[in-house]
Symmetry: C2
Subunit: 571 residues, 2 copies
């Protein structure tokens, strides 16, 4: 007995950290077939729930999309009274452009294409995620490294699927539409914008519908389990737990996917529209005009290489390494992509070209456009890091909030809300700087490609994001299948943090995209006088000003929280 304790003490003192980690990582319960059957059962329950939720959602989406498509067709078609005759172009009266009716038709088609692509990508992502859940749990029996690889690879599959599908359908649509439009770039890219609108409309449903469902299921399951019955999270006795797992899948995977897809499609379309009225369009340089698409495709290649860093070049040995590995994904993809953009900009762009800028033409050199894309890309990295800092339990903000729980829910809510408000400060400045720099270098086109830059590593971003709910659910399955606590721990790390990083990307790029879209509208409509709000200085003032109340609220709320905390401690 005494000898065993002594051996234990000696082992703990003598064996270095890495080796003792290895000892913990022993395989367990590999031969227990019952566990596998149970996991499969739970997985199919989650899959069934998610599928039925999405099908219900898609029924409403379908009705909305058809109605909206009819509206688009009627509004755009009525511009020239549904005439089928070619009309003189608005901007060069000596040329004939395609009739508005054609634009209406093609816009409606691309709108439906965008919505369908987003829908299919989201659905397939959900399917992959539910297949991956139980597999991750089973792999976790072999060690944390195996579980990580399974979860991350599944996330990556979802990311690549979405990025590649989005790009492929867009490219095919452009080429097919070109058969009809020929050299009428303005008409061509005007109808292509429907693609972005379709993606965004789908995102609205996916994000809000899925988001409400996932949060409601999460809160409901926690309340039933922790508050009412006093049973631990993900306990099999709590029937709301499956709903929680379904929610994670439809909200944070399908929903986040359609959200990022929407931003991605919108920024591509905005950049294409602005490009079409620049010198690329005038000189009929189709390849150069497709620069935004080239950036996205380079992004897919870069993300492919980056993924190898997580799954093949290094091995995860302990749970603590997971968050660092995911963070490394962000850094590696950004660094590689910077090189990628440089190559693309050097090869594909002419050394000098002119860009439409509020009625004027602006001379731009190709390396300036490189900086525009790069600043968006790096701003995305900053947003990712700040989000991670504020959302991860490895740093002081979350620890402070946890600490404030000592005195009950009130101080916890105050601190948590203050923390949330505070977390927007640096991202807003990152976005403000990107807007200022990219506009100064290449006007509205600069902003559009900066948004694309932020989204160019979307595949890696989605892989990181999807890792969260997949491993979170794997943990839940481990608990429900009655596996040991150790296995649950191997899967349940960093889940919520990575989901937060995904949200940061989605919102940051949405801010840039909205400005780029507004810019595309102004450029296309050739409005040159009423551009006051669009001036980057004013727009930066607007977004920074909108952020200030949150900063101020965060400071005052934090003061209230700490003062109350001290008071309670003193009394």
């Amino acid at each position: 007995m005494g000898g065993a304790i002594l051996t234990g003490l000696l082992t703990e003192i003598l064996i270095p950290n890495g080796v003792s980690d290895y000892l913990i990582e022993e395989e367990e319960g590999l031969n227990d077939h019952n566990v596998v059957v149970k996991c499969a059962e739970i997985q199919s329950a989650i899959s069934e729930g998610a599928t039925s939720f999405l099908f219900t959602e898609y029924q409403y989406v379908g009705i909305f999309m058809v109605a909206f498509a009819v509206l688009i067709f009627l509004f755009l078609g009525s511009v020239e009274g549904f005439s089928t005759k070619a009309q003189p172009c608005t901007y060069s009266k000596d040329k004939y452009c395609k009739p508005a009716l054609a634009n209406a038709g093609f816009s409606t088609i691309s709108f439906l294409l965008g919505a369908t692509t987003s829908l299919v990508s989201g659905f397939l992502g959900m399917k992959i995620a539910t297949f991956a859940n139980a597999r991750t749990t089973l792999e976790a029996r072999k060690g944390v490294g195996k579980a990580f690889i399974t979860a991350f690879r599944s996330g990556a599959v979802m990311g690549f699927l979405l990025a590649a599908n989005g790009l492929l359908v867009l490219y095919i649509a452009i080429n097919l539409f070109k058969l009809y439009y020929g050299d009428d770039w303005e008409g061509l890219f005007e109808s292509i914008t429907g693609y972005g609108l379709g993606g965004s409309s789908m995102a609205l449903f996916g994000r809000v519908g899925g988001g409400i469902y996932t949060k409601a299921a999460d809160v409901g399951a926690d309340l039933v389990g922790k508050v009412e019955r006093n049973i631990p999270e993900d306990d099999p006795r709590n029937p709301a737990v499956i709903a929680d797992n379904v929610g994670d899948t439809v909200g944070d995977i399908a929903g986040m996917g359609s959200d990022l897809f929407g931003s991605y499609a919108e920024s591509s379309c905005a950049a294409l529209v602005v490009a079409s009225i620049s010198s690329f369009g005038v000189n009929h340089e189709f390849t150069v005009m497709c620069y935004p698409l080239l950036v996205s495709s380079m992004g897919i290649i870069v993300c492919l290489v980056t993924t190898l860093f997580a799954t093949d070049f290094f091995e995860i040995k302990s749970v603590k390494e997971i968050e660092a590995a995911l963070k490394k994904q962000l850094i590696v993809s950004t660094a590689l992509m910077t090189v990628g953009i440089a190559i693309i900009s050097w090869i594909a762009l002419p050394s000098t070209f002119t860009i439409f800028s509020f009625g004027d033409q602006k001379q731009v050199k190709n390396w300036l456009l490189f900086f525009c894309v790069a600043i968006g890309l790096w701003a995305g990295l900053v947003i990712g890091f700040v989000t991670e800092y504020y959302a991860s339990n490895a740093y002081s903000p979350v620890q402070d909030v946890a600490d404030s729980c000592r005195t009950g829910a009130a101080t916890n809510v105050i601190f948590g809300l203050a923390l949330g408000y505070k977390s927007v400060i640096i991202p807003i400045f990152a976005i403000a700087v990107s807007i200022f720099v990219s506009f100064s270098l290449a006007a509205m086109y600069g902003i559009a490609v900066a948004a694309l830059g932020m989204l160019s590593t979307i595949a890696t971003g989605l892989a990181i994001d999807a890792y969260g709910p997949i491993s979170d659910n794997a943990g839940g399955i481990a608990e429900m299948a009655g596996m040991s606590h150790r296995i649950r721990e191997r899967t349940d790390a960093a889940g919520n943090t990575t989901a937060a990083i995904g949200k940061g990307f989605a919102i940051g790029s949405a801010a840039l995209v909205s400005l780029a879209l507004f810019g595309a509208f102004v450029s296309r409509a050739a409005i040159s006088t009423v551009m006051f709000v669009l001036t980057p200085k004013v727009f930066i003032g607007l977004i920074v000003g909108a952020m200030l109340p949150y900063w101020f609220s965060a400071m005052t709320m934090k003061s209230v929280g700490s003062a109350a905390l001290k008071m309670v401690e003193e009394v």
Copy 2:
């Protein structure tokens, strides 16, 4: 025994509501001298705490004000290199205006005047409120009517003090400055704007400093009492309770007072500056130029009459009537003030005059100005009513939130936050409509007087607002002095609701005032080109747009809350 029950039943069935209320309102404990001594002790503890808090606050305020005053003097004085010579006026080169150094000096003086007036008003308000606390408690022994009158009258004293002080000091300052400036209206009213700035600077400290203290003390006291020790609110065993009472006094009385004073002074100054460059200034019509001050003085008279409705014309017989009586104050003061504005506009204003409007001159009739003030006034009423609806426990929103507590803190927080977000929707539209109408009728001057209209019944607003903390603290004193639960109930009604109404006024008028100030700046600096953001349509778009995310968040949060609630109930 059986007979007593039967009599009780008969009494309950037979005696109508009013009479049974009267029976409850019996006098109790009037001859107990110990209670009086105890109340006096608690009152002096609160008074001491509040005084020492305010003195500490004023030390910091003093340092800030002196430093800021020096800055103002240096910045304004350096405009013409501290020259003491009269300079040609900027807007009519053939006239000579007072040197910038004089403007700097007078601006600094009026800045300090504004800050001091706000400080003194806040301090006296606090003194009145602490004196009224225990008196309300003691009066509550005689019945709810007496307690209401004591608390409301004290609030009214504070309201009139602040409104009258503000107006008096401003009027005296204008007349003294006029001795030097003569007919140089632009210089005169430019230096007077310091008054508004002083008031606002003081408001910053009063509101934020006092606000943080009051909320921290409130949360701290509740946590110590309810969560840690499981003793009821305001229990004498909890030492944090006195801090809570001090907080109510310095935050919701002195702080709210300086906040409303700031808006009041700012809107008067903004209106005066715009008036000075209109035809009033050109024609040297001093009385007409003082129209904003006339509106405020009419407001004081109207509020005086209104107060009689609460304290003398009707009598409060039960606790339930209190909220209705306070609401009646809002309605009566608004209705009377509408008549008052009509009289003022008809007597004091010329039938037609011209107003500066972004470089142009706009022809305005006197009855149009009446509508500008009136729409601000009525928008204030709408804001007050909506705030009351969302903050009072008599209506469904608060009841829904209370209902959501059944399933714990999580759904409660979600519902509460959603409710708060939702409560801004109608006020924002009320403000948007006021801006649009008043700008259409009388340009920037219209917006400035609309803000004044909203604040014209400030004395009644402050009386209602101060009623809250006074009666709240009276309830606390009753509890601490060991008086019966019935007495506590007589004082503790409607407290939080009225404080919320005050906040609604302060924020609504602040939005109008900020626009009016911006307008005054643009008018004074004669900027006519870059006015895009100031166009009411754009500004309305901005504030309504800024509100939309809250609307949307409220809807989604409410869905999450209700879905979680249903889920918990089902499981």
